[in-house]
Symmetry: C2
Subunit: 386 residues, 2 copies
């Protein structure tokens, strides 16, 4: 009775500040690579969903679904976009998953994309802030670096997390991205450089923070029985869960845990009938390094308060027990908002297919991605298996 | 095997220029009325989808799903928004339909909403234009009134459609809205007034055009077997189809027909195993009066070119063979972009439940809604039955 959903194609464009390209251009590149990878024809695709947060503000174009179907030459199909702030990409993957499971669609193209560098930095920061509770946070200058700084400071106070530990996700993720040809920053960065980079919002520094990025990622997904027609290496979406929390950080009982991440991860493991120890590779939403530390705890890799210790022990490195952000994560792969959640699934699929080159986790069979919106008001969790 | 999806609750806020209210306020009013109407508890709802086009530009707040879940007190659930320009509402209904059919959700809240009057008229016009192919249309001043004027002029040339016929959808829809307490304009308007109203883009006049509106509409939908627990008068989504066409009007072979409407209507009738003559009541997207004329033809109520004649003959009036826009349509109920597609389904549900007061179509058993984006680049069609 239960329909399994397969991922049969993945694609990316190289993330970065892509001054010479526009949103539709990069979206189609990622989508077309996914289509080529899947070996499907355009006419096989009967639906498309785009994860995008704010093309209306960043680029002055909405109605992206119809635009991509049109310019991509995919013809007359269902095409639309989905928004859940920085979790727009993960939400788009989930929509496509439900579209297939519902029987309404056979083969879906998922594109996550965002073009952020065509506006000024201050305009970009304003637009990112509309993913917070703007009336109660952004309006008063509590931008995301400030909100995550509250979380970091509180985590340091409650659990003794150190500035050195705060720097470690960046060091790890840059080292991983050095082996990822699609990453925005493909070079390692020493811990001293991170710890001495400019302060954004004390204690958070520039190099604790994901960059402003242009980029797109794509997936082709379909029903299980169709998958074998197209590929010998399908991977499967074993579960998809999404939850929400208060939009404003100040409304939460604790600002050092993200309840929506806890509940969606638990639900996803439950649905896939897996324990955390069964998961071989993780993509966790590290828009700020404190985010990765908190998510490591909320997912269950480390006990609450011990995310810093897990970094000290190397547990989340490639070769460690629970490798996190083998792709380089948001910090080093880059964070084009709507693309991130899709790019996470691309990375997991490559890992499970054994195609992750020098960043490969040996024998990876199950992967888990957490894509969050805002300071955790939305959490989308996917478990991918082969 | 095939899962039916029931509509068990409907809600609206009164449409209009709601200066004193904000987007979340009107969204929650519509959603809460739908919840009360359904008789569900907030805790019964396990997912929410919001149809909205451009809150980021109109109101400076995105991440609407998490915000509505938070402020509405619905707790920890999957919440996100869907964008397909003026078809965002219809696309949201379709997402919820697939979410239920997929088995991932049991009871979904659908909200369509837009707050358009908090920006200047020119800013509103710019934002509406980002639903066109902005780089090739809006950028050159081809706003929607201009694009629809091309369609109207061509329709007049090809088929002899008259200025009097162009005015008739407005007269009919205002007469219908006089009996709809949620409509923005609850008064009839004589044909002379329509024909002498200010020119927007020759031959289209102000009173051929849907207004700028604030408003929200809500639905509660669930699996068939749950529906009977909550209500004695469920209606069912018998089919849901969505298609796309070129984003720019100038890329089409004909600008007097909307291919996506033709194909999605055909698919929806096919899926529901119905003929057009089985449909008792229609909601057709009349953002401009020429739009209603073209849709009347593309849906099959009139032959191509004879949409004007159908108006002359009264076929689309209440009491006629194929009543169109009993609610007042976009013209008179108002057109808060993301709300429209949801409000159409609210009207059909009321008609099928026999609760449409003085605008009731006697014995209505099946209803069909067409919600389009842009000049028809997206078309979403739903057939509702009891």
């Amino acid at each position: 009775m239960k329909e399994k959903v397969a991922i049969i194609g993945v694609g990316m464009c190289k993330f970065g500040e892509l001054w010479e390209r526009n949103l539709i251009d990069i979206s189609l590149e990622a989508g077309m690579y996914a289509i080529f990878d899947a070996g499907v024809r355009g006419t096989d695709i009967d639906g498309m969903v785009i994860g995008n947060m704010s093309a209306g503000r960043f680029t002055g174009q909405e109605h992206l679904g119809a635009q991509a179907a049109d310019i991509g030459g995919l013809g007359d199909l269902a095409a639309y976009s989905v928004e859940a702030a920085c979790a727009s990409g993960g939400a788009a993957v989930r929509q496509a998953y439900m579209a297939i499971k519902s029987g309404e669609h056979d083969v879906m193209l998922v594109i996550g994309s965002e073009k952020m560098s065509d506006v000024t930095q201050s305009e970009a920061m304003n637009t990112i802030s509309v993913a917070s509770d703007f009336e109660w946070e952004g309006m008063f200058g509590a931008t995301f670096p400030a909100l995550y700084a509250f979380m970091a400071r509180r985590h340091m106070k409650e659990y003794g997390t150190t500035e050195e530990q705060l720097a470690k996700p960046t060091v790890k993720n840059h080292a991983n991205a050095a082996h990822n040809e699609w990453a925005q920053f493909q070079r390692p960065v020493p811990i001293e450089v991170v710890m001495n980079s400019g302060l954004l919002a004390d204690p958070l520094r520039v190099l604790h923070s994901a960059p402003i990025t242009d980029g797109a990622a794509g997936l082709v997904i379909c029903r299980e029985e169709l998958a074998k027609k197209y590929t010998d290496t399908p991977v499967y979406i074993e579960s998809s869960e999404q939850r929400s929390d208060t939009l404003a950080l100040h409304d939460r009982q604790s600002i050092t845990t993200m309840n929506a991440v806890v509940s969606s991860t638990k639900a996803a493991l439950n649905e896939a009938k897996l324990d955390l120890k069964d998961i071989d590779v993780f993509e966790l939403h590290d828009s700020f390094s404190i985010g990765e530390i908190i998510l490591t705890e909320d997912v269950g890799i480390a006990k609450k308060g011990e995310g810093g210790k897990a970094l000290d022990e190397g547990i989340t490195e490639i070769g460690g027990k629970f490798p996190v952000n083998t792709s380089g994560g948001l910090k080093a792969r880059g964070h084009p908002i709507g693309a991130t959640g899709v790019a996470q699934i691309v990375e997991l699929a490559l890992q499970l297919r054994g195609e992750a080159d020098k960043r490969q986790v040996d024998g990876a069979e199950k992967g888990l991605a957490v894509n969050i919106g805002g300071t955790g008001a939305t959490s989308v969790v996917h478990i991918i298996g082969r």
